[in-house]
Every structure is written in structure tokens, then in C-alpha cells.
Subunit: 423 residues, 2 copies
Amino acid sequence: MIKANDPSLKSWVEVPENSDFPIQNLPFGIFKTDYMEAGAGVAIGEYILDLTYLHENGFLDGLGLPSGVFNHHYLNHFIGLGKEKTREVRNRISELLEAGNDELRDNKPAREIALVPMEEAEMLMPVKIPNYTDFYSSEEHATNVGTMFRDPENALLPNWKHIPVGYHGRASSIVVSGVDIHRPKGQTKAPDADKPSFGPCKRLDFELEMAFITCRENGLGNSIPTEKAEDYIFGFVLFNDWSARDIQVWEYVPLGPFLAKNFASSISPWIVTMDALEPFRTKGPEQKPEVLSYLEVKDEKNFDINLEVLLQPEGGEENKICKSNFKYMYWNVNQQLAHHTVNGCNIQVGDMYASGTISGPTPDSYGSMLELAWKGTKPVKLTDGSERKFIEDGDTVIMRGYAEKDGLRIGFGEVKSKVLPAK
Amino acid sequence: MIKANDPSLKSWVEVPENSDFPIQNLPFGIFKTDYMEAGAGVAIGEYILDLTYLHENGFLDGLGLPSGVFNHHYLNHFIGLGKEKTREVRNRISELLEAGNDELRDNKPAREIALVPMEEAEMLMPVKIPNYTDFYSSEEHATNVGTMFRDPENALLPNWKHIPVGYHGRASSIVVSGVDIHRPKGQTKAPDADKPSFGPCKRLDFELEMAFITCRENGLGNSIPTEKAEDYIFGFVLFNDWSARDIQVWEYVPLGPFLAKNFASSISPWIVTMDALEPFRTKGPEQKPEVLSYLEVKDEKNFDINLEVLLQPEGGEENKICKSNFKYMYWNVNQQLAHHTVNGCNIQVGDMYASGTISGPTPDSYGSMLELAWKGTKPVKLTDGSERKFIEDGDTVIMRGYAEKDGLRIGFGEVKSKVLPAK
């Protein structure tokens, strides 16, 4: 077991019950305050542990960390040290925060600087993203979409069970939780119109996804086998893949989604390490037909992570509209990364690889409005009496995620974004 | 007229007849030598003018350039200064190289350091590419592909004349001329096979493209109108969009090309500025039906640039297999950038936007082997007696481009890459 994962650990920092951030989590992020430049931190309870301060003041001595490695606007330098080193850092932070350790606990001046209340901090993008890929790995989602738009009898396309289908997305427009999104404008064509028209998107949607972030390069021309994939994955965030359905349907044949997606994607600010998720491994769905040998995996490669989507109308309350789970993924991250690099494609530190919409087997577990409201035929009722077929201006979409087992809860926090009218 | 474009200018640096790099061109690139770190340079005849040296030794004083702006592994810092500033720099370089100017010409020690013979230098990637998009903007290419794979009667898809169709590609695997390419491996499925198989690509192809590079940010949520697009475009390179046709056909429905493309793309090392191409503006094809107003352009937005592809078998001679022209593009770069940002998508400095395969109206102007050999039915004959349906191991593919008018030739040099067997 990784030392920092020990379920018996308690921290001297008070961690509220049901907190996403107990001492067994220790996710990494980038934060700033009114009085501090952006830098790296770790979440513990309702505080952020300032890693720049710890490093500069000797609390991380002996780990051989480069000077200034946390003092950046992005975590790329840090995670690029590799999993062995970043695991050592997480273990050391766990040690410092452990109830019986007095190094920081009893050093009041240091403790008061090193622990920043979350309410005083603004969370920023955790990594600079050199490349972003979106997969399409939930069988239920692909089946729902195929049923609605193509043929219910042949909802899955012939390649779907052989290939972890994916496509390249836009890295520049990925933003962090809290950044408002303007409704995009674009070109659409109604099925009965004889020509396209231009205007604000009428079918704005979210997609509930998770994304992994890579921490190591393979080098152009080299493949990553499934059994080595985890050496390249630092951790995970929640991912809202905003989608303009009416723009998408007109533009996407034959080269795939483009302006329907690249106006914005939103992520949660804390990267939960793959290490912290170890206790929540589970088997994925059975894969039939058998996959090609380069996609074979052994053991448990899925993760049991509860996911939910909430919709909050302007001035109203949160409505839980979806409950799903990351374990539903048909294709796991090892297979996704092995497939992505089997042709020699090179991955880079900070790359983001999203799962595709994570829909479960029941209608309340569908990960998009398109599916929840079944193409507008079953509007979603909200507690204020209104209905939604898609997302309206003023709506806030919130995604939360947490893994839970034997009293241990490892959470992701949230990705929360409000939709503003088109500019 | 931009000062540096004056056709009457002559340089004191000897420029061979038919050189791609007369004093009216002055393209920017990144080079290194055995005795020098990577840094920025400008091509003149058979020399590279070392901008780091010029800047450090006062030859660019008065331009207000940041210290060290050329002393980088990429041109992003420099081009990010904006077109007004980079135009001033090009004008000043022109002045320094002009026959009558003695500042550098008669300063032998400086001149001998500042002018590096091209044969002593290695050209590197000119920019770090945050985002890469590939368009699909040649009507002839889209028609050819549609005729071969879909319906000759309805070769163009319904959206094609309304949207400059594009998709996101992989930035990490774009490499510079001279870097060998390994044949990719991947998953394919023969039409008559009952399941897919894995192995080296059997239908490796090139695509003759050009790409523009952006030098300014619009900021997420802001659109760039067609009439402002040129403020955001620094210049152009030649672009070989390597394609694995057999992988592509199995993977690309419904989300577009992925592993068929992302194993490598190759570019020419010199960025020819949009300024240097001013004299070669020309009208594009008539656009019917009328485009939506956000895509309307005035004046001449296409460029008359001769393009050619040569195939050189292992140990053999160059065979010219394609003669095309950038002027054939149905959608121009102003329209591409306006479309890309109409939904608020943010562009960044160093982004690369490729044109899509540039095919002309005649069979010898088709910009890919797929089209030249018409899906393998009309193999291309080489001078050594061999034939090609696609690219074989050991083949070198060379793309060259130049604009020519009234005795003035502005060239791109070349992008040249050899295909090695699968690893």
C-alpha cells in the first residue's frame, strides 16, 4: 500500500465529516490569493497547504526537489518529475499533516502561513495543456447517441467495440471551474431549412466526463503498452465537455466535432492522484468481442467513482439531474493511452485525455441533457417548476465526484460554471 | 507597399538566381550549428542571418525589442510582439542587407559572425505549437475524396460550401523537415474481413498542404471578423499532413481522423511572412451559394503560390508527381480564422492552421497519392520503372513552394522527409 493511503491516518488539520479532502487524498492544484502569486498547493480539509512555502522553508528537504518547482503558474514542472518522485512528495506531505507529527503542527508561525483557508484562495488551471484528446468510451452513451441519431437496431458503429474511439479537441479553451461560459454562436441548419443560418446556439449541453493528465513523455515513434500506461498518468479531474448540439449536427460529418466543442470545456481544479484512487479500483465491463492483443489488460483498471450533475437555475436551488459512475467506462484509461500511442503518437507532460460522456445503464445516470431529455422528448423537470431540454442562459452546471469505501471518501471537489448569454 | 517588398532592392549578400530567399523574402526560422545554441535567423540567399547576434550587437537598436527575444528555441516570443513590430524588424533587416548599406557589409568581423552558411546549420521547429487545426478547404480535393468513397453524384457533403470544414489535429507530433518518419502501425479492417487486425499501415500517404501561423490572441469568447484576420496571421509554411488511409477508413466515423494522422506531420522550417506574400495576392474561386455574412470577404484573399511534390525512391532520383497551387483554395485563410473563432474559440501565438490537401483541377495537380493514383487504380509511374499506389519504405517525399511574378521569386524552401519501416 502507498504510505499516504493508509486508511487509519488522521490529520492534525481538522477535516469536516464528508470532506472531499481527507489526509488520504492530498490532491494537487494551483491557487492564488490577494496577497500571493500563483503557486502549487495541496488540499486538506478546508485548507490549502502552500507547497512553495514548505519547499522554501525546508519542510521538503531530502526529497531532491528542484528549486522553485512549485513556484509556477502550472503544475507541469512538478508532475513532470515522474510518479516516483511525486509519490515521495505526497507521502512526505501526508507525514507532515499526520496527527502525531509536530514539525508543522507545533510551529505556529510556519503553520499559519503554510495553511491557506480555501475561502481566501482562487483556484486556477492546474496544468498548461499541450494536447487534449476526448475519447468516447461509455457504451451506454454511444448507444444512446446511436439510437437517437442513427439506427436503434445498430446503435453502436462497427468499430466501437474494437477501438477506444477518440478525437483531438481544443486545448486553448479548457478553463477552470468558476469561469463563466458565454453561449456560443455558430452556423446551424434546421432539417427542413434549405440553407444554414447564423446565431446563438439553441441546444447547449454539458457532457459529464473525467479526464486524466499525463506526466511523462514517450517520445515520437514509441508506443506505451497497456501494462505501462499507469506510469504515464498522474491523476484525474472532473471534465465538463460543453457541447453545442445544433452546431455539431451540421458540422461534424465527415471530420468530427469542431466549433460545437471548442468554445469551452471546464475542469475541476484539484488533480486527484491516481495513487489516491488505488483503493477504488474495480473491474470494468466485460469486453466482447475480444480486443486485439495491444489492448488487452489484466486486473482491475476501472475506478469506482460516484459522479453527479446538478443544474442550478438563476437564483434557484441545485437540482440533481444525473447520478453516474466512472466505473461504467467500457474502455479503461490503460487501453485509451495504449491505443493513442500504438501508432507512435507522442504524449507530453500536462496533456489531458477526457473519457467521453459517462452514462450509466439507467435513464437517471445519463451524462448529458441530450440523453436525459432524450433529444428534447422528455424534458427534465426542476424543483422550481420549470423544465429543461437543454441548458438555458443563467443556468449553472455543477459536476461533483467522489469515491467512497469503508468510511474513506476521496473527492474531487467540483466543476461549476454558469452559462451567460451569447456575446 | 511594405518597404522590404520593394522589387528593386538588391542585397550585398550574393543571392543565386532562382533562390527562394532574395532580399524581398526574409523568412524567419530557428537554427543551430555545432558551435551555437538554437536561436532565430532570417534566410538570405544561401546564408542565415543570426538575429540573436544582430540584436546583442546593436544592429537592431531603436526598435524597442525585448532583450533576448531571439535567443529562444522557438519564434513564439518574437512573433508574439505583433505584426507591426515584426514588420519593423523585417524592414530593418532589409535595410541592413541592402546593397548600399555599409553597416554590416563593411564590418567584416560582425558580418562573418552574423552570416551563417546554411550548409553549416540545422533547421529546427520554428514555433512551439499550442494548438493545431487542419482545414479541408480545397473543393477539388473534397470532391475527389467524395467521388472515391461516397457518391460521385453528390461528392461534396451538404455543409461543404457553407462551412470551411476543419478539425483539431495533434500538435505534439508536428516535426520539421529532415526528421524521418516511421511507418505507423495500427488497427485496420479489410472490407471483406469479419474483424479488424493490427500491423503496419499499408496505405501510407502524404497530403500537400500549407499552414498559417498566428501571432496574436483574441481571448476566449471573442470572434475575429474576416477583415481583421490578417492582423493575427504572421506567415506560412509548407505542410505535409501524413495520412494512414487504411487506419483512417476504419476509425474515422463518427468523430473524424485520429491515429491516421497524429503519428506525424512535417513542416518546412522557414516561416514566409504574410507581408512577403503581398505581391502574390489573387482572387479565389467564386463562392456559390453565397456564404453567410460572417464569412464574407472583400478583395484578394488567395495567394498564387506554386506547389510541387516530389517522390524520391531509396537511392533514386526525384520524381515530380504533383504540381498544384495555393490559389485553388475555395476557402481563404480569412474565412478559416473567422469561422474558427465565430463561437469564441481562442487562438494563441504559434498556433498552426493547415489548409487541407491542395488539389487543383487536373489529375497532375492532385495533392495526395490517394488522388494521384485514384485509390490505387492508376499507379504513379516513376523514372526508375517502379510504380506507386501509396508511399513505400525508403521513399522520401519532398514538397516545394514558391511564388513568382515579374522576375521576383519568393520561395518556401522545402519540407523533405523519408519514410522508414515500422518500428
